[in-house]
């Protein structure tokens, strides 16, 4: 087993463990912390696939912003008990697992029966960010601008939705 394969096995195991813990754990805070482990694992896989810029962006945005946002939302929605449980209505737990296993199984079957067209090219890490910058400014400038509008709209929308209603006192008497 080469070092690359060993590295892939370690990072993939960490990622799988983080994802399984994030969907299984009963404690809310532990689930979010294992989600952070999952994000780091995915960033490690991006580094193994020589996508350095995307790996760093993954850590910066997912761990640095989205995970922190989730922790803040947990703080702001504290219920009496901090624990939560699986769905208990009927056989919903098994139906969810069956659906997920069906989707995963179909995907894996498609992967196994597709022709092997993979060619591993050694990509130089130097030109990576430059290529992304050039593509963003030439071929993909329209999605770039639309993404900025989308992010502005999401920012304003999130603030408006989560804002307290202070100018309509009749609503608080419910």
């Amino acid at each position: 087993m080469t070092l690359a394969q060993l590295g892939f096995l370690v990072v993939a195991t960490l990622t799988l463990a983080g994802a399984l813990a994030a969907v299984t754990l009963r404690n809310l805070t532990h689930a979010v912390l294992s989600l952070i482990l999952f994000f780091f694992g995915v960033a490690g896989l991006f580094f193994l696939l020589r996508a350095d810029f995307i790996g760093v962006v993954q850590i910066l945005i997912y761990v640095g912003a989205i995970a922190v946002l989730i922790v803040f939302a947990i703080v702001l929605t504290r219920q009496r008990i901090g624990l939560e449980d699986f769905k208990q209505i009927g056989g919903a737990w098994w139906m969810g697992a069956f659906t997920a296993a069906l989707v995963g199984g179909i995907l894996i079957e498609i992967i196994r029966h597709s022709p092997e067209v993979a060619i591993f090219k050694v990509r130089s890490p130097v030109g990576s960010v430059q290529e992304i910058g050039q593509a963003l400014m030439t071929d993909y400038v329209l999605p770039f601008e639309i993404i900025s509008i989308l992010l502005t709209a999401a920012l304003i929308g999130a603030v408006v939705i989560a804002m307290e209603e202070i100018q309509n006192p009749r609503k608080e008497k419910r």
């Binding site: 799988l16 994030a22 994000f39 989707v103 999401a154």
Partner: protein
């Protein structure tokens, strides 16, 4: 050398795990967490094909970049909705949020 199918199978398994979490969790925040897991699995798939493919352009990394940005916007708005619903219902249990009133 790690085969491409290893990355694809890993991405499929992560997607299935995220789907299980999104269908099963009772807390609305953990449903959003599971959706983030699914988006990350799809991004992993993109980058695996970029690394192992025959094509030389950078489109897959841009797809993933825009996907991360959209996931961030969706997480922000989704969590704002969860906070607003909690303020009204005093609970983030998806089984107890049954009416659109308010």
């Amino acid at each position: 050398m790690v085969p491409l199918t290893a990355y694809l199978v890993l991405s499929a398994i992560l997607f299935a795990i995220g789907l299980w979490g999104a269908l099963t969790r009772k807390n609305a925040i953990l449903v959003l967490v599971s959706i983030e897991i699914m988006i990350n699995a799809a991004s992993l798939n993109f980058i695996a094909f970029w690394c192992y493919g025959k094509f030389t352009d950078i489109s897959a990394q841009l797809f993933v970049l825009f996907g991360i940005a959209i996931a961030g916007a969706e997480a922000a708005v989704g969590l704002a909705l969860v906070i607003a619903i909690f303020r009204f219902n005093k609970s983030v249990n998806v089984e107890e949020i049954t009416s659109l009133k308010g």
